[in-house]
C-alpha cells in the first residue's frame, strides 16, 4: 500500500493550523478574503514578523485567530482604535485591521472616520456581508433597502452606508471594493493597499449563505457567486457617490481612490521638528 503523503495546505505557514477547522459556514466569503490576504502577504514578501492583524467582534472578527501573525481579537467596534495605539506605539509595524461591516461601520464608525481623517498608516479590510451574522442575522448599516433580516422582519427601511464614499469623505488615501469572486484583483488590491502609506480601505463584498441569503431566499454560496459574476461591473475611479448598493442590483467594483496625503506620523514628526527649537530645553520650573 502506497504511503499516503501528508497534504500540506499551501498557506500553512501563514495560518494557525492548530485552530483549523474554522468557524465559518460553507459558502461564506470570509475564507476567500483570508486567502486573498495571505496570498497578498506572500506577494508582498513583507517581513511577517512586522505585520499584525487586529480584529473586532463578529464572524470576520475571528480572522485574527486564524492567521499566524501577531494578532489581536479586541472588543466590538474598537479594532481601529486599538490598531491606532499599536501603530503609534511602534511605527515600524504594518497594521492590518480585518473586520466586518457591523464592527467597522456601525459601532466603530467613529473610529473609522477619525483614523481616516488622521490618516493613520493602516490597512482596513472590511468584509461586507450586509448583515450581522454572528448574532444571528440582524439589520446592519450596510443592509440594502427592503432586504429582510431578523430585526427588520418587514424589510429594511434604512438607507445603507456607502463605505467607499464614507472612506473618501473622511480622508482615506486608497479605497477599493471587490467581491469574494474577484480573488486575483482582491489580492492585488490588498497588496497595493498595504504598500500605500496612510489609511487604506478595501471593502470585500461577501456572501452570507447562512443568514443573509437564507432569510432573503437568495440561494447558497454558489448562487451568490453567480450573482456577483453576473452583476458586478468593474469601473475604476468611479465617483464614490455612485457606489450605493441596491438590493440585488448591480454592484460597482474597482479601485476608486488612490491619492497622497501626509500620514499622522509624518505630520507629528514634522510638528516635533518645528517646535523643537521653540521650546526651552526644560520647561519653566520654579525652583524653591
Amino acid at each position: 500500500m502506497a504511503k499516503k503523503k501528508k497534504e500540506i495546505h499551501p498557506m500553512e505557514s501563514l495560518l494557525r493550523m492548530d485552530r483549523i477547522p474554522h468557524i465559518w459556514c460553507p459558502g461564506c466569503g470570509i475564507g476567500t478574503a483570508v486567502t486573498a490576504f495571505t496570498s497578498a502577504l506572500e506577494k508582498l514578501k513583507a517581513d511577517l514578523n512586522k505585520v499584525c492583524v487586529i480584529s473586532g467582534i463578529g464572524c470576520t472578527g475571528r480572522v485574527a485567530g486564524y492567521v499566524k501573525l501577531d494578532s489581536f481579537h479586541t472588543t466590538h467596534g474598537r479594532p481601529i482604535a486599538f490598531a491606532t495605539g499599536i501603530k503609534l506605539g511602534d511605527p515600524e509595524l504594518k497594521v492590518v485591521v480585518f473586520s466586518g461591516d457591523g464592527d467597522i461601520i456601525a459601532i466603530g464608525g467613529n473610529h473609522f472616520m477619525h483614523a481616516a481623517r488622521r490618516n493613520i498608516d493602516m490597512t482596513v479590510i472590511c468584509v461586507n456581508n450586509f448583515i450581522y451574522a454572528m448574532t444571528g442575522g440582524q439589520v446592519a448599516p450596510t443592509t440594502p433597502l427592503t432586504a429582510y433580516t431578523t430585526t427588520s422582519p418587514y424589510g429594511n427601511v434604512e438607507v445603507p452606508s456607502n463605505i467607499p464614499q464614507l472612506a473618501e469623505a473622511c480622508g482615506a488615501v486608497y479605497v477599493a471594493r471587490w467581491t469574494a469572486l474577484h480573488i486575483r484583483r482582491l489580492t492585488n488590491a490588498i497588496v497595493e493597499a498595504m504598500q500605500k502609506p496612510g489609511f487604506s480601505v478595501v471593502e470585500v463584498i461577501s456572501s452570507c449563505p447562512q443568514y443573509y441569503s437564507r432569510i432573503n431566499k437568495l440561494g447558497d454560496g454558489l448562487d451568490m457567486m453567480k450573482f456577483y459574476h453576473d452583476n458586478s461591473v468593474i469601473r475604476h475611479n468611479e465617483p464614490t457617490e455612485n457606489l450605493d448598493i441596491d438590493y440585488q442590483k448591480q454592484i460597482i467594483v474597482g479601485k476608486f481612490i488612490d491619492r497622497e496625503r501626509p500620514t499622522y506620523m509624518d505630520s507629528y514628526k514634522k510638528w516635533l521638528e518645528e517646535v523643537k527649537h521653540q521650546i526651552p530645553k526644560s520647561p519653566k520650573i520654579q525652583n524653591t
Partner: protein, 247 residues
Amino acid sequence: MSIITTCLTNAVKKSRIKKVCLVSDFLYQREIVDSLEFDTFHVTRGRPIAFGTGLKLANPELKVIALIGDLITLGGNHFMHAGRRNMDIVVICVNNFIYPKIAGNTTPTTKVPFSQYAPFERPINVPHMAKSSGAVYVARWTTLHNSELTESITQALQKSGFSVIEVMAPGGSYFAGIPSLKNESELLKFYYENSVIKNGEDTRNVEIIPDNKIIVGKFFEQERPTFLDSYNAQLSRVMGDKFKPYV
C-alpha cells in the same frame, strides 16, 4: 453665541413650527439653551443626535434641533448614522475651531496654530461629511452672516430630514484660536475679510485650509424620504391595510 441664539429664535418664529425641542451637549451652549423659549435638553457629550433620535421617534410631532459644540469627535458615529437614516433632525454644528472651555487641546476642526505647539491634525470637512452621510440640507455660515444664517435655519426647519448647518462662531476668549484677534469685533472683521460666499459649491472643495478663504453658503439640498416615511411606506407595502402608519 448670542448671534446664533437670535438667529435660532427668529428662525423658529419664522418657520411657525410649534413643537420645537432643542438638544445640546456640553461646552458653551448652556447660555443659548437657557435663553430659549422652548424645551431644551443638555445631555452627555457627543450624544445629542442619539438623544434627539429617541425624542423624534417617540413623538414624531416634535421638531428636534441638535445644537452641537464640536460634533464630530465623540458624536461622529451618531452623526453619520442619523444622516444615513435621514432622521428628521436639524443639526447646528457650532464650530469654535477649538473647544472654548478646554483650551490648549486640538479638536477635529482645529485649524490655525493657537500656541507654539501647533495642532498637526487635519480638520474635518463638516459639510462634506454631512453630504456623504446623506444629509438633505447642508450649509455653512459664520456669525457675520446672520440674516443668511436665520434664513438657512428656517429652511432647514421647514425641510423634513437630516439637515446640517455649520456655524463658524467665536468661542469664549480664544477667538477662533487665532492669537492675533483680540475681541469679537476683530473676529467678525476677520470673517468679513476671509470668507467668500459660494452657494452650491461642491462640498469636496469647502475644506477649511489655513491661509485660504473660508467658503460659506448653502451647498447642497436634496429630497429623500425620512426614516419614518420609509418605515411607514415599507410596512404598508408588506402588510397592506393591516398596518396603521406610525405618526
